[in-house]
Amino acid sequence: MRTSAARLTIVARLILLLAVVVLLLPDSAARPATFSLTKVESAKHVDFEDGVVWFLALGSDARPGQAVTDGRADAIQLVGVDLGTGNAVGIGVPRDSWVDLPEGFDRINAALPQGGPDLVAAAVADLVGITPDYVFVSGFDGFRDMVGAIGGVEVQASRAFADPEFDLTVEKGPNRFDATEALDYARSRKELPGSDFERSANQQQLMLGILRELRAHENDEGFMEGGALAALGGLDTNLPPTELYRLALAVTQVEPGRVTICVIGGTPLNVGGAEVIEADVTQARRLAADAREDARLQGGCRD
């Protein structure tokens, strides 16, 4: 009579033999190895308009109690978005650009109080050669409300600087700004070697930062609606509310890596004691020709 230990030894040998057979016998065919991983596919589209949509984003320096369209446009950014490809382009216009307005030559930022958003759009169209489809004007409070509604913004700064006028300290690289700091960063100019040109570039970095915030939180319940509501309250625009909502959601389709930006250059001029800029119209027209059809600066910013 076999002992239980002997039976266990036999069973163990059988298992070993079976394992050897399984390992040595060739398969009749290659078998796919199956992992516990399922394939998830995704689809995304937001219907706004076909082709490139051009909008002009203006930052007004209107003071409290003043209509935003009564202030001067100290931030002038022409933005093109191709919602089909996800490309976007930002062209910054120096606020001191010396242009011909109905009341005579003046800085382009004076177009806002002289003739409202339409006159700024016309002046930008004269300079760049692209007529914006929509114009947005934001004042200080409106901008703060919008940035506050999305919980602040992270901005990539090209240089470190401190601006005592705004009690603002900026580190080179990523900076997390609350709404007030973001506004101060957008306004800060005196401590920047590149002055108005560099400020315009900083404003573009702010816009990129806002885009990144929108994309990061677009799936949070109520996030886009909160941001859109702040925009409705903080913007003066010719876009109806439903279209503004659609545009806000459509813009989040744009990946920041597909955004190209440039600030129009120029030459300082002294006109009757006033420091102004003779904008580089040749460059402006070249940028427009490059980006008009596809919202992308494939030729770069400068020659």
Binding site: P26, D27, A30, R31, P32, A33, T34, F35, S36, L37, T38, K39, V40, E41, S42, A43, K44, H45, V46, D47, F48, E49, D50, E218, N219, E221, G222, M224, E225, G226, A228, L229, L232, G233, P240, P241, T242, Y245, R246, L249, A250
Partner: protein, 205 residues
């Protein structure tokens, strides 16, 4: 143009009560299945669950009745979509009609994404039922004007095919809707689809 709504109140805006039980969805799921010789019929599939519509954001300034109206209106749009895109009588091929409530641009693009936005891949199924239909609404309301909403969707389905057991699959993500002239339209979508199939790697022995 967004429609003005009356009845502003100071009541809290977060609303988690299930308000929408849409008979059309349940009915469509219950009647799904192929007809034929009763002796050859597979067991009657279980009925679909109902669509649950919940408002989570944006209606703080509206009264109860207005909120309920909004949920019903958006729920009706989503309900019609679910029936057209996933339920109905199988086998079927008419999935393209699922986008009737989409804006023209969104519908054109949705046709390209039809495999992810409908059950077109399961057109040969013998029946289909919904196992989860949840929609969480975040409204954009400016004063009395209702402008739009994002519907967070968690949909689950189970297709019965002739060659095996039930095949579960899910669609999750967002639908974006606006109200214009009293009509809600889907102008955007951002969805992910998991049809449950394992990702296979062709490894040689």
């Amino acid at each position: 143009m967004a429609r003005g709504r009356r009845g502003s109140t100071g009541k809290p805006g977060r609303r988690v009560t299930v308000v929408g039980v849409l008979a059309a969805v349940a009915l469509a799921g219950a009647v799904a299945g192929c007809s034929g010789d009763p002796a050859e019929e597979s067991p009657t599939p279980r009925a679909s669950v109902a669509l649950r519509v919940t408002t989570v954001e944006g209606t703080a300034g509206l009264d109860e009745r207005t909120r309920t109206d909004l949920e019903t209106e958006v729920g009706d749009v989503l309900s019609r979509y679910v029936v057209s895109a996933f339920l109905g009588d199988y086998p079927r091929e008419d999935f393209v009609q699922s986008f009737d409530s989409f804006t023209s641009g969104a519908a054109r693009r949705a046709v390209r994404d039809i495999d992810l936005l409908t059950a077109a891949r399961f057109g040969d199924a013998t029946s289909m039922r919904a196992t989860q239909l949840d929609a969480r609404l975040s409204f954009l309301v400016d004063g009395d004007d209702v402008i739009g909403t994002t519907a967070g969707l968690r949909f689950g389905f189970e297709a019965t095919t002739g060659d095996g057991g039930p095949s579960p699959f899910t669609m999750r993500g967002r639908f974006m809707l606006v109200e214009e002239d009293g009509t809600w339209s889907v102008f955007g979508y951002d969805v992910s689809r998991d049809d449950g199939g394992p990702v296979e790697s062709g490894a040689s022995p």
